[in-house]
């Protein structure tokens, strides 16, 4: 999951877009996905995000994200299939568990929608340096800096915590702790030896960070900004293109 959020360094045309453009793209496509309920349209959006990933040279990294989304989507689809008994029975996946045409149509739509809605968000995070996102949020959207910083830092810390969690899990497994169990009650007991060290080490990390911020004048007054994030022609084109997707989705959907 951690690669869904981490920025991938690059200097493509898309990397250089104004973060606001990317944010608009992510939000609009996300909204469009929920308005449109047409398989082809959703597939189109998904394909479009793949093209963007390819154009910005991060297809390799994005592939991992798509895979994760696909697996998640598959689960969602299966779940939905089991609970949609309406419609004409096509076949049985298990004895007594039918798959219907409505069920199949509906659940595959759900899966596509989930994938198409999350892909642009994750793509935006992979293509935008956190600092630029922060600047866009504070200067263009007028979000108070303190809050914008908190959100962006939280996002940035997720991969760090996930690495920390890996370490802790390995330390406990080395002491003979079995982490893989299917029993839900046992699962809770399995988690405790990992959550407590994670909590403690996070608190320590956050404390250091707070001190480090304190000694660098964080939120002591008005703030300047090194990079002016201008809108280029390409930004405007991209925004128009993305905005066009909205009415199209209403028409097709």
């Amino acid at each position: 999951m951690k690669q869904m959020l981490e920025y991938v360094h690059g200097n493509s045309l898309i990397h250089r877009l104004n973060p606001l453009t990317k944010l608009i793209f992510a939000v609009v496509t996300c909204v469009a996905c929920f308005i449109g309920s047409n398989h082809l349209f959703l597939l189109g959006i998904l394909l479009f995000t793949i093209i963007i990933a390819g154009a910005s040279g991060i297809l390799g990294r994005a592939a991992g994200v798509y895979k994760a989304l696909f697996i998640l989507g598959l689960f969602l689809m299966l779940f939905q299939l089991l609970f949609t008994p309406q419609g004409r029975i096509l076949f049985y996946i298990l004895p007594g568990v039918p798959v219907t045409d409505i069920g199949l149509g509906f659940s595959s739509l759900l899966m596509l929608r989930m994938m198409a809605a999350l892909a642009p968000l994750s793509l935006m995070l992979m293509l935008t340096p956190m600092n630029e996102l922060l600047t866009a949020m504070t200067h263009n959207l007028k979000v108070p800096y303190r809050y914008a910083f908190a959100v962006v830092t939280a996002l940035r810390f997720i991969p760090a915590f996930s690495r920390e969690m890996d370490q802790i899990m390995q330390a406990q497994r080395s002491r003979g702790h079995e982490t893989d169990t299917r029993n839900p009650i046992k699962k809770i007991r399995v988690i405790i030896p990992m959550c407590i060290p994670l909590l403690i080490s996070s608190v320590r990390k956050v404390e250091t960070m707070a001190i480090s911020l304190e000694t660098r004048g964080f939120c002591t007054g008005p703030r300047s900004c090194r990079k002016k994030l201008g809108f280029t022609l390409f930004d405007i084109l991209a925004i128009i293109l993305v905005m066009a997707a909205l009415p199209v989705s209403i028409i097709i959907g």
């Binding site: 370490q167 002491r175 003979g176 079995e178 060290p197 320590r204």
Partner: protein
């Protein structure tokens, strides 16, 4: 005891090799240092030993058990693993429970546990702290608690990942003296360290890892004189060896300040060998 054959490892198919065709044999009762730059693959190699990571190719066997097929929790009965940061494993409310954790995991007989915990605590000077909350202890004490919880499993092999990092000299010596006595009792010790002084004082054999390959593997005294290899691996020999090397072959067996002083005196007194 530990046998590594043509071990290669990468995190995924497209990633570069982290370990590149490593072959090693480590026998019973050895005290081995694993040194190299951060990112050289030291910790990755250690994690191969107890099956936390599985070989991409080649094999690792511990006491005849192939790590590729045996679970880590099972290997935990053969190989104790102390991680760099004690806070990555401590979670219990008391030192006693913390030491007990591994024993319960490996399903030891209940009646033997209490005695063993007290014995281990005694060995590490923790007997007065069994009821205390580990989080109120100092970093050095927490490291000893973590070590105790690993020792409680009474494994024949002990793997230590930078056990002295972030500790003061006194705490460092305390930990190392305990490890040394365990080694004298026959335990096999494999330790990652950045402190060449600790390596020279305690480890018999030193393996230098660089870019996932074994660059040097020999007696510590010999390896720490290979300035070129050490330089390549971002390390420098201990001060006394650096000093001795500036005098050519004159002090070639010198390792400790005492050796060096003795050698200088025998050269400097009238009738001794002159430089």
């Amino acid at each position: 005891m530990i046998s590594i054959r043509n071990l290669s490892y990468r995190y995924n198919k497209k990633a570069p090799l982290v370990l590149d065709n490593i072959s090693l044999e480590i026998g019973r009762g050895e005290f081995v240092a694993l040194v190299g730059q951060n990112g050289a693959g030291k910790t990755t190699l250690l994690k191969q030993l107890n099956g936390l990571l599985k070989p991409s190719s080649g094999s690792v066997t511990i006491n005849g058990l192939d790590t590729a097929t045996v679970k880590t929790s099972e290997l935990a009965c053969h190989i104790g693993f102390l991680f760099q940061n004690p806070d990555h494993q401590i979670f219990c409310g008391t030192v006693y429970d913390e030491i007990r954790f591994g024993l319960v995991n490996t399903r030891r007989q209940q009646e033997l546990i209490d005695g063993r915990i007290r014995r281990i605590a005694g060995l590490l000077g923790l007997e007065g702290m069994l009821d205390r909350n580990p989080f109120t202890l100092s970093k050095g004490e927490r490291q000893r608690v973590a070590l105790a919880s690993v020792l409680a499993l009474e494994t024949e092999i002990l793997v230590l990942d930078e056990p002295t990092t972030g500790q003061d000299y006194k705490e460092c010596v305390e930990i190392m003296e305990i490890v040394k006595s365990l080694n004298q009792q026959g335990k096999t010790i494999i330790m990652v360290s950045h402190d060449m002084e600790v390596v020279v004082d305690y480890c018999e054999r030193t393996i230098v890892l660089h870019n996932g390959r074994v660059l040097e593997d020999d007696d510590t005294g010999i390896v720490l004189r290979k300035t070129e290899s050490l330089g390549m691996a971002g390390l420098e020999p201990p001060q006394i060896i650096q000093l001795a090397q500036r005098f050519g072959p004159l002090f070639q067996d010198v390792i400790s300040p005492e050796d060096m002083a003795r050698a200088i005196i025998s050269c400097a007194v009238p009738g001794g060998v002159r430089a």
